[in-house]
Assembly symmetry: C2
């Protein structure tokens, strides 16, 4: 292997191999593949285990030292010419139940591709490099989302995390044990020097404007509430409308209100009722119980609090008017995060230096990066999502955009680790 000196013009000319990166994306996408496209790889399932095994295998092939910490985060380390804090890149490999090939996986596999380019070119960076795949970023099976990075940063204890129960009734600690990913490495023992995450935008903005790279300014605040409604089950034909205590009706009214609330608050505010269940769920019986979730997000903490307060007041009023018992439970709450200006600038400058169009924008989705931002200066690189689709089996990003984003990542890693 010839040696390329970091910071040299030869190092500046290094580029990622898009065919190799796409091949790994498609190979990983086969694990948990759904008929007709897309992926279902919920956290700590058999599919997640298989995908983790693949990632660990690739890390070992690239000569990385693999650490599995107590919450199952998989971190591959490449030594630098000096000791010190590593430059970390990464994301997650779990998906929602009807997910795509790119959300999360891109950040991890682009990290491996960066390492492979350095490996093939014989480049040793001054600082160590780390490639991380964080546990349960989606929160689709265990709430809250971004759980692995939350534990990594010390904001959630291992003990509390282990006791979280999944939507299918399994304890997180037991599932981690079952798939063999409750590791020995101390959690957060690897504080990074800088963290950079490449991710698909998952929204329509870059594509709509024909921009290739997003320099992410921060992440929306996220508020998840589970609302449980207790009414009285009764016969749909014989119960006059005014006598009803219908949990199903109340759930529907809340579902309508959330849209109205988001529109009234305006700006970046979004609101979604993605999950709603009735019991006994029969055509001719009004529901005795209903359970639904409300997902509220805003880049502005004050407005997000206003949205939460208005939802809560609406639900209280509804409970009184309809004579129902309604309970709220917070499933997740994250304040908006602003990334370090030096890192936003760096994404922007790096993209420009590669001749790529770039625009600053906030992230609508939560990301592991927002957790890492509490530990070190953190940046995120977005690439466009076709049709703005994500959390959808048709999620996709053009190979040329992935190549562009991965090259920004490669150049940032080289600069930060020099």
């Amino acid at each position: 292997l010839k040696e390329t000196v970091p910071g040299s013009s030869a190092a500046a000319d290094l580029r990622i191999n898009i065919d190799r990166l796409m091949a790994r994306l498609f190979e990983l996408g086969k694990i948990g593949a759904l008929d007709g496209g897309g992926v279902s790889r919920l956290a700590l399932t058999d599919e997640d285990k298989e995908a983790r095994d693949r990632i660990v295998g690739w890390m070992r092939e690239l000569g990385l030292t693999v650490h599995i910490d107590g919450i199952g985060n998989v971190i591959g380390i490449r030594a630098g010419s000096e000791e010190g804090l590593p430059v970390m890149v990464g994301s997650h490999i779990d998906t929602v139940a009807t997910g795509g090939l790119y959300d999360g996986s891109l950040g991890v596999l682009a990290g491996l591709e960066v390492v492979q380019v350095l490996h093939d070119a014989g480049v040793t960076t001054r600082r160590p490099l780390a490639v991380a795949a964080f546990t349960n970023e989606e929160g689709a099976r265990f709430a809250p989302d971004m759980l692995g990075s939350l534990v990594f940063t010390g904001e959630l204890s291992l003990e509390d995390a282990y006791d979280i129960v999944s939507i299918d009734g399994e304890r997180l600690g037991d599932e981690l044990e079952r798939i063999g990913y409750r590791g020995d490495a101390s959690v957060g023992g690897l504080a990074p020097h800088r963290y950079v995450e490449l991710h698909i935008e998952q929204g329509p903005r870059l594509e709509a404007k024909g921009i290739t790279i997003g320099a992410v300014t921060g992440v929306q605040g996220i508020s998840w509430t589970e609302i449980s409604i207790q009414g009285v089950s009764n016969h749909a034909g014989t119960t006059p409308m005014r006598f009803r205590r219908d949990a199903g009706y109340a759930a529907c009214v809340i579902g309508s209100f959330v849209r109205e609330l988001a529109n009234t608050i305006g700006g970046d505010q979004v609101g979604t009722v993605g999950s709603l269940e009735l019991h006994p769920n029969l055509v001719n019986v009004m529901a005795e119980r209903a359970k639904l979730t409300v997902d509220l997000r805003n880049t502005d903490e004050n407005r997000l609090q206003k949205a939460e307060a208005e939802l809560s007041a609406f639900v209280d009023r509804l409970a009184k008017e309809e004579d129902l018992k309604i309970e709220n439970r917070k499933l997740a709450r994250f304040e908006p995060v602003e990334f370090a200006p030096e890192m936003i600038d760096r994404v922007e400058k790096t993209a420009r230096s590669l001749g790529l169009s770039v625009e600053r924008l906030p992230s609508g989705a939560g990301h592991d990066a927002q957790m890492l931002a509490t530990l070190c200066p953190t940046g995120m690189i977005f690439v466009p999502s076709a049709g703005g689709l994500s959390h959808n089996t048709k999620e996709s990003t053009k190979p040329e955009d992935i190549e562009a984003g991965a090259n920004v990542l490669l150049k940032m890693v080289l600069d930060l680790a020099s």
Copy 2:
């Protein structure tokens, strides 16, 4: 056994044995009993089979000739002193998933009690008597409801009925075969002279007015529609509100609208969304698909049609506004039924002759009686429901009210069969 001559004053003094009737109600209620009270005995399940076996056993003990017809209706015949069309009483023994002990079972077991009183008193009526338990009245597992009596009256063919698929994916004909209740008796081979059904009111009106007996004037028309919504699944955080094609939101808006629709049409109109399901049903993913049912009822056919038309127009508008594909499927449709005036009069007069308070009222629920009304003059006797509750595990009726209702049934049967 001494002989009591029907029509004699000795016969007029006959009364049902409430302890025996309550004992049978509680014994049948053990089959499919739920922890904490109530019953789950969905049509053609193992529980339904066990309950049918018990009914057939009791019929045989009372010397009835048992006929099982092609749709599984169980009919016990007691010979009269003359040949001819029987006076039929009955109801059903299937329940909803969270049902009570009285809905349906009361009409069948009161019929057996009437036979037992006549048996013990040595009374032979002029006309034969028939006690019927009709298949799948609830429609909670197979739509439409009142399926056994619908086939009995010839309005639904056996072949079409067999091909109906349950909510758990089983074919009706196969399930009937599996539990051993696809019988040989020809369907509808037993046209009755008159049909009388004793049933709980399942609503709050009799109890609210302190009335013991309801003389049922007819049954509300019923319209069941299944609405399937196809939207686009996307990320709850990154998709601006104006770009959403959210099937879950549309389902909620329809659920809210149905209440508004019932209130606007007013009068007897009721409307219920009892079943609603989202896919993928996750907190941070807007639903790609939603499926819900709408149950609309009115005693007036024109108003019911108006409600259906307004619902349909609303759904069409919503599909256009939200850029969704929405399909409607009729699960059941019955026009309002008016019982024969002679039978309404007869319930009222019989109750008065026994010193019982009585009031005319329509039925909000569908009943086998409305199907039988197309074959012969038909009457229904209602007794009060505590708190107006039904299709609820807490459903109950006071023993003295059950006794009163069963005595009205006994006297009507004696009069009609003489």
